[in-house]
Symmetry: C2
Subunit: 116 residues, 2 copies
Amino acid sequence: MDSEQKKYSIGFRVWIKEENGHYLGRGRITLLEQIKTNGSITKAAKAMQMSYRQAWQMVEDMNKLSNNILVEKILGGKGGGGAKLTKAGEEAIEIFYLLEEKIKNYTEKLSKEINL
Amino acid sequence: MDSEQKKYSIGFRVWIKEENGHYLGRGRITLLEQIKTNGSITKAAKAMQMSYRQAWQMVEDMNKLSNNILVEKILGGKGGGGAKLTKAGEEAIEIFYLLEEKIKNYTEKLSKEINL
DNA sequence: TTTGGATATGCTTTATAAAGCATATCGATA
DNA sequence: TATCGATATGCTTTATAAAGCATATCCAAA
């Protein structure tokens, strides 16, 4: 009847803030996953084509804003060192995914109601 | 009992996509409002410290992706011309605010459930 | 006590999105 | 038909976040 022809959908980004700054977003969660997989910040950064500089800074920021650090640094050792996720780090990933998922479902529901 | 001390909240951004690209987000809605207030793209851009170039491009993009244009351009006339919102433009603002509001409420609800 | 590969960090370079500049064009009004 | 302040658009410059480079430091293991 009317001339609606274009199709619209809803996009979103979500993140968790702490009083002193950005805490967790998509990028940081991906970094955590890569650290988990690769066992070091260096390798994680390389894997996601990010500079070590930035990856290291992200880890630093996250750890500062968390109640319990998410990434544990290992200096020395037979491999020269590395980094691994703490329990809190693993949980952070879970929590963030759940959050994202819920909002995704909600926006999909909303997009059906919207009439542009 | 446990050592939870930091306070977390959820931040988000939402936008409306059309198949051929980004359609409406915070920035564009603000621009629409400024055009409504100021009656021209030039003045709207100035008011929000945005370059005319960019503001004009945004209007162009929005109009291309909408079923009915959101901004009507006026060339010539006693003031030399200007721009004003169409009915669809006014509605777009309403719809976007409603969308943002609903998601805001939902994230606030979710933030209470989250335990970091 | 040497080795190794990682963490840690200052400094320089680069990439690119945004801004800025210049100028042509538009057309209702008076 | 001259005017006016806006729209329209190519081209150049700038700002700045990200990347890249260089190098010092760390310490468990062998």
